[in-house]
Amino acid sequence: MNPLHQTRRALFKKGAQGLGLGALTELLAGQTLAGLPHFAPRAKSIIYMHMVGGPPQMDLFDYKPAMKNYYDKDLPGSIRQGQRLTTMTSGQSRFPIAPSIYEFRQHGQSGAWFSNLLPQTAKVADQLTFLKSLHTEAINHDPAITFIQTGSMVPGKACMGSWISYGLGSMNKDLPTFVVLNATHTHPKANVQPISARLWSSGFLSSKHSGVSLRSMGDPVLFLSNPRGVSASGRRIVLDGLQEMNEIEQRRHGDPEVLARIEQYEMAFRMQASVPELTDFSKEPESIYRLYGEDARTPGTFARTCLQARRLVERGVRFVQIYQRGWDLHSVLPEVLPSQCKDVDQACFGLIEDLRSRGLLDQTLVLWGGEFGRTIYSQGKLTPTDYGRDHHPRCFTMWMAGGGLKPGITHGETDEFSYNVVRDPVHVRDLQATILRQMGIDHERLTYAYQGLDQKLTGVEKAHVVKEIIA
């Protein structure tokens, strides 16, 4: 019998009486919080593809044909309503409207609108749920990404993945509960925004709920590889010896924390086997690359991260966060946007199809979108073939799929300028509440007492679950 299992069992048998509180909490870290889930969960896992920079909704999904007649005309004051602007365009003397130069067509039974930049994603139109009326409070990247991830524009709060890990715990003790993947982009002129460890930080929650970045270069998990020359069998001898000596120490002073440490060393050893398996794509059949595209053969690409995400949720990882950068299209939009779309189009299709065919789509909530939208008016010079768009917090589009949502529907509507929401506005915290809801969590009740406040992902303001999109 594995002596470790004995240790572990003995540990649980002793229960609270036999253990220091610290040790007990550590071992239970992977468990679901008491009282959770609050409702029957509709999804077990989340794959959240964040397009950092803010994709232009009116060039992709939010079709505004009337704009053709507004080319180079000023955005009416009645539409802008004195809304604040970034200091990048607040100095512009005029706000000339730049109609999208892309062709739009309806797809699937649902008749969802797509521009011709996303032909592959359009094929799964009937699997997708569109939110066209999202709006946020931040107007610049750093606070906006922090806001959508943590419910606060000011750094220091816990991010969504950490909340899920804290609330629901792990489904695979050999892998982290919350994994972060950073995808590359292709176009050299893409304006790239930074991301930061704070976006997968657990904030005030225990740091065991922080996202673990699965890297495409070097060790997939930091310090996973043994030093040169150290084989698994060599390491095993060391760990057995370590356990033996730690047990002597534990007998001397009686501190049960030692046993918890032994357990962590064993899990580290198991991870050294499970993570390489996780990142070994050699057994994926050729058909997979037809689905996700040839890019998926290259580590670090968006397509590869999508395939990796599927492998992660398949193994019980709760929350997979993908970041793809390069969507900050202030200038030369017609040059960069097609490339950004090409980076993601086939892989989005592949991921949805792959999850569906494996029966995973029902239990996986997939999200695609940025931290805000972009302006209908051009930033900088406007020509019939060239324009740029500034940040726009008042409306943006996101699509979701799976996870117990109604497929093939569109929720919310913007005005003909894609500037203001005119029907069914969805605030970022409503989105957060809805995501939690699908995971079986009441956003009002998943709280953590910190600095005198019952902290919540959705913050102190009221948030509303978007019931209309739930199946």
Binding site: Q17, L19, G20, L21, G22, E26, R84, T87, M88, I139, N140, D142, N182, P194, I195, S196, A197, R198, S201, S207, K208, V212, R215, G218, D219, V221, L222, F223, P227, R228, G229, V230, S231, S233, G234, R235, I237, V238, D240, G241, E244, M245, N246, I248, E249, H253, G254, D255, E257, A260, R261, Q264, Y265, M267, A268, Q272, E444, Q451, G452, L453
Partner: protein, 916 residues
């Protein structure tokens, strides 16, 4: 329920401990200090408030409070169901009992100034007297004193952050004269590493980092402040002075250089240079950060909760918050920092040997500048009728220059890109480029004549960023093939330069913002550069009429700049003229300013004397004033936490209503008064704590203590917990003899895994590529490790180091598999194992003892020794049949050598080694 009733019959209710937390947690949200959101005009955070409406003292059944919390109809029961704050049966019992016994009330403990309580009889040492009195109540007895090796290891780690040397252990073990322990204590308190170790905790509280933290997360130069902290602890600066100088050193009369460096404390907040941000919004965030940090670090208050509304639990109003904000609102700090390392205000710290020359030349430069200004004015008065002729310079616009020195001059228009190449060309077989990167001029030379590349950039630490409007950039090169042969002028003024990591030239010049490019086939002098740019008649005429004065100024400026450039720079605070004020911001929104408020301290705390200045200096004096009930308590609690793992108040960051009350309130107060009355003597306080029997107890757990004191909150045994990240790495380096021990200096870059920085950075960030240092810099103490906030040193972060984006006064201590991977696999740890194994086997006939002495400060016990030898034998057997592995591990084809490395790595991962 039974247990509560039983307990109630044993002890009287304590309002603070038993009742207040229930009211705070279940009622204050709607019936508390927050006037604006108070429901039913009922407040339960004051006794009059409660008695006026809902509490009939002595009669629960007549009290509306009791009726409502027990109401049979859920819809009428308090707290309402949507609050998710149901009262437990135990809480209800306490509330009832409280009302029945007359609803006694006591002010929140931490708002009442501590007075020195009598020391309980019994133990000689006051700390022991308090601790043992409580243990006796619980019928627990303290643990015996730790054996000397374990004791000196704990002490050395606590006072210096480093393990004791075998010689120190030996001397202590053999010293049987009285006072042996106290002598060791004094030696460690006098060590220069004492200050490093104490500073390390303070860096978390002060959120120190080497980058700005937001957007580009570019380099920030403020490490001289870090060195100031180390020196302050080493010189045992009184804590009151320590606080005063950091909060307001610049406002002290005749502030010294060091007192101004100290004010970097509040320049440590994260800051942005992101294009498009709204300065007013950013400024509000900075000020909030300063208020939050001040309140947390010194007062243990969550004042930040009052940003948007009155505090829900503590008597802190929204006005209090913005009155505090006013103190920090009145500085000259640059808001959007332009991505440079030293946004104003900054302080130049010259090299010690140049300080006197700088002091000499500074007034001279000022005099020459003034003289020149006067010349300009006088020329203006002369109203020269004819424009002076421009100096004629040999000018030749070519893109390919002959080999040798040259000058390139570019006039550019509006720059809104972060990176633009302004001119490229060729001279001989060298290619060159003049560019702007993140608003900073860069000049590069590349070619076969020069080994590698010569890359220069306007030193981001010392020059103001290029204005995004009209600018002229001139680069001259003397043809010497050295970086020093390049001078860059911005608008005619030479700027300081430094080498940066070479980057390849860009292939396609982008000239879209360039107005004019001029090339001269020789290096222009400073006068010529100005002349070539002169567009104003007065200036031109002045230069023509007073060439000697102009050159004298240029020369003096040059030396002045050169000395400053060789010195270090650090960010400091500087007060603006006028009264410190701030607007109350509706719901904390920067664009919804309401009434203007003058600077003042929170009304619920003792007032600031009327004649103290209403600025940061007044605030700082108020913080360390004798009648401030919080500062001394909060500070001793944090120091206690450093030694014992948990503070007497567990919530070191919250001494308010929702914080945890102290386990030993009398001891906390006694220590606070003692500390304050000793003149805030930090070393004396630590000496007091570590000489207590409480501290010296062995970390031995009994069944009984495990049950009654599982977290060691009663101090029924010695402290034993996993060391912080920096201590672990420093200990490994020290034990293996690799540690580079000199104190202070620029931050260093030890090894770290590849792609940690790149994966989060923007293209134009100057902390995008991690270039590890080499040599001793790789082995310095971890508090000198370069701290990029968007991607902190990964091994330290995995071991619970905070990101340093916000103030942290209490680190978490988790136990995860990723941490095991660090101490097993991180090259720093593994090379330490290799080094220690080599030394042990080569220098000692008892290698196992040699290693154990350095890691555990003691030889192994027989049982441990036997276990270690069994493992060693298994390893030797393994490496005899795996020679290639052995070679890779130890660098020698020797199975024994490899086995020793692995065994030492094992020892370095022993729970006892990871714990202090």
């Amino acid at each position: 329920m039974t247990s509560v009733l039983l307990w109630l019959s044993l002890a009287a209710l304590d309002f603070q401990k038993d009742v207040k937390p229930i009211l705070a947690n279940h009622c204050f949200h709607c019936h508390g200090p927050d006037a604006q959101n108070r429901k039913a005009d009922l407040r339960l955070d004051t006794r009059p408030g409660a008695l006026a409406k809902v509490v009939v003292a002595g009669d629960a059944s007549k009290s509306l409070l009791w009726q409502r919390v027990t109401h049979p109809k859920p819809a009428l029961r308090m707290p309402p169901p949507y609050a998710h704050k149901d009262l437990s049966p135990a809480a209800l019992t306490i509330l009832r009992e409280w009302i029945q016994t007359g609803a006694p009330w006591k002010e929140h403990w931490s708002f009442v100034a501590p007075s020195r309580p009598p020391v309980p009889t019994g133990a000689k040492h006051p700390i022991d007297a308090f601790i043992q009195a409580r243990l006796a109540q619980e019928k627990l007895s303290p643990a015996p004193e730790a054996d000397r090796p374990r004791l000196i290891r704990r002490l050395s780690l606590d006072l210096t952050g480093l393990p004791p040397s075998p010689e120190e252990v030996e001397a202590f073990v053999r010293d049987d004269k009285p006072g042996a322990y106290e002598r060791v204590v004094d030696r460690y308190l006098a060590s220069p590493h004492w200050g490093e170790h104490r500073a390390r905790y303070w860096l978390d509280a002060a959120r120190y980092g080497d980058t700005h933290g937001l957007h580009s997360d570019n380099y920030r130069e403020i490490w001289p402040w870090r060195d100031w902290v180390i020196q302050a602890f080493n010189s045992n600066m009184p804590f009151s002075q320590f606080a005063l100088e950091q909060l307001a050193g610049d406002l002290l009369p005749n502030a010294t250089l060091n007192q101004r460096i100290a004010t970097g404390f509040h320049r440590n907040h994260i800051a942005t240079g992101e294009g498009g941000v709204i300065p007013e919004e950013v400024k509000a965030i900075y000020v909030k950060d300063m208020v939050d940090t001040t309140a947390t670090v010194f007062l243990g208050l969550t004042l930040g909760c009052a940003t948007c509304h009155d505090h829900k639990y503590d008597p802190l109003t929204q006005k209090d918050f913005y009155r505090m904000a006013a103190f920090f609102n009145n500085t000259t700090e640059v808001t959007v920092h332009g991505e440079i390392a030293t946004p104003e205000p900054v302080l130049v710290i010259p090299r010690p040997e140049e300080a006197s020359r700088l002091a000499q030349i500074e007034p001279e430069v000022m005099r020459l500048r003034q003289q020149w200004q006067d010349r300009l004015k006088s020329i203006k008065k002369q109203e020269t009728s004819a424009p002076a002729s421009r100096a004629s310079l040999h000018m030749q616009a070519v893109t390919v220059l002959p080999p040798g020195p040259f000058t390139a001059q570019v006039q550019c228009g509006y720059l809104d890109q972060h990176l633009i190449t302004m001119a490229t060309g060729q001279t001989g077989d060298l290619r060159w480029e003049l560019a702007i990167e993140s608003f900073l001029p860069v000049f590069r030379l590349e070619g076969r004549g020069i080994p590698g590349q010569l890359a220069l950039r306007g030193n981001s630490i010392r020059i103001p960023p290029v204005s995004p409007k009209e600018t002229e950039i001139t680069a001259t090169w003397d043809g010497s093939g050295r970086a020093e042969g390049v001078t860059i002028y911005v608008g005619g003024r030479a700027v300081a330069l430094s080498r940066v990591a070479p980057r390849p030239l860009r292939r396609e010049p982008d000239r879209s913002f360039i107005r004019r490019t001029l090339l001269y086939p020789r290096a222009l002098g400073p006068l010529e550069v100005v002349q070539s740019l002169i567009s104003s008649n007065e200036l031109s005429a002045a230069v023509e009429q007073y060439p000697a004065e102009f050159l004298a100024l240029a020369e003096a400026e040059r030396e002045y700049r050169a000395i400053r450039m060789r010195g270090n720079v650090t960010l400091v605070m500087k007060e603006k003229a006028g009264e410190a004020k701030a607007h109350l911001l509706e719901r904390g929104q920067y664009d919804q300013p309401r009434e203007e408020l003058s600077a003042a301290t929170p009304a619920a705390l003792p007032p600031m004397p009327a004649d103290w200045p209403r600025n940061r200096l007044g605030l700082a004096r108020w913080i360390v004033a004798a009648d401030n009930p919080l500062t001394a308590r909060v500070t001793v609690n944090r120091f206690w936490q450093e030694l014992f793992g948990t503070g007497l108040v567990k919530t070191a960051d919250d001494f308010g209503s929702t914080g945890e009350p102290p386990t030993h309130p009398e001891l906390l107060d006694w220590l606070a008064v003692e500390f304050r009355e000793s003149g805030w003597d930090v070393k004396k306080l630590f000496r007091l704590m570590v000489t207590s029997a409480t501290y010296r107890q062995a970390a031995l757990l009994t069944e009984e203590k495990r049950r009654q004191d599982p977290e060691n909150r009663l101090l029924s045994r010695g402290p034993r917990f996993r060391m912080d990240a920096e201590m672990l790495r420093d200990s490994a380096l020290a034990a293996s003899g690799l540690l580079e021990r000199h104190v202070g200096g620029e931050s260093v870059k030890p090894l770290q895994p590849e792609n940690v920085w790149e994966s989060v950075a923007v293209l134009y960030s100057n902390t995008r590529f991690y270039q590890p240092d080499s040599g001793p810099a790789l082995r310095r103490r971890s508090l000198y490790t370069f701290w990029k906030r968007a991607a902190p040193p990964p091994a330290l972060e995995i071991l619970n180091a905070p990101t340093r984006e916000t103030c942290v006064v209490k680190r978490e201590r988790t136990n995860t598999p990723l941490q095991a991977l660090v101490t097993l696999n991180d090259p720093d740890f593994f090379s330490a194992a290799r080094s220690l194994a080599t030394k042990a086997t080569e220098l000692s006939t008892k290698p196992l003892d040699y290693a154990a002495q350095r890691l555990l400060a003691r030889p192994l016990a027989a049982e441990e020794s036997a276990a270690a030898r069994r493992t060693l034998a298994r390893l030797v057997r393994h490496y005899r049949s795996h020679k290639a592995e052995a070679l890779a591990i130890s660098g020698r084809p020797d199975p024994e050598a490899a086995a020793w490395v692995m065994l030492v790595s094992l020892l370095m991962n022993l729970d006892e080694v990871l714990n202090k």
